[in-house]
Symmetry: C2
Subunit: 122 residues, 2 copies
Amino acid sequence: MKVNVQDQRSCCPVATSLDIVGDKWTLLVIRDLLVGKQRFDEFLKSPEGIATNILSQRLRWLVENGLAQRTPDPKDGRKVTYSLTEQGEGLKIVLKAMADWGMNSLKNVQIHPDYASSVSAK
Amino acid sequence: MKVNVQDQRSCCPVATSLDIVGDKWTLLVIRDLLVGKQRFDEFLKSPEGIATNILSQRLRWLVENGLAQRTPDPKDGRKVTYSLTEQGEGLKIVLKAMADWGMNSLKNVQIHPDYASSVSAK
């Protein structure tokens, strides 16, 4: 099932994708989900230091747009976990391209151990 | 030559790339440069309707960060043209991944004739 995009200004696939994921923090949360992070406090600990209100907003956005799902934590029913849907998983190619470009074109880049296995893998 | 990144919060290649190009309008201007648009008024005519002040700021940002170059227009010395540097051209893989994801995962997506030959090509 494809994600429904409302009120877009353009039908270009790049522009339409950017209407959904054209934001740094959204893509960093997707990166974390791709490496298996599931809980709010795990996202908060990522090296970029996302603020709690931005994290809440971006997680809600991903769920509302069908890229992530929110489920009760099996270890603690009062908490929730997040995971990517099939559509969200599809963004791995975008994050991989971003990582490859950064490694090839920018100085002072290195892979954090949390992300070595997934985002940077061929 | 690699682009120098200052004041980054993280050394992750995804996060570092997003510090430079983690913005919708920046990536849309890069998309336009990738298909050969060169002049301010050509970028303004793109279907997303970028505002002049945002376009000016994003072009300046791309030049300052070594992703684009600004040269006098050979047809009219009072005007300038923009083109991607080698580092900027490298972003084609990111835009291609965005387009592929949009085509596969989002509804109501179609390729504008301006972009059919480049961004969506294999």
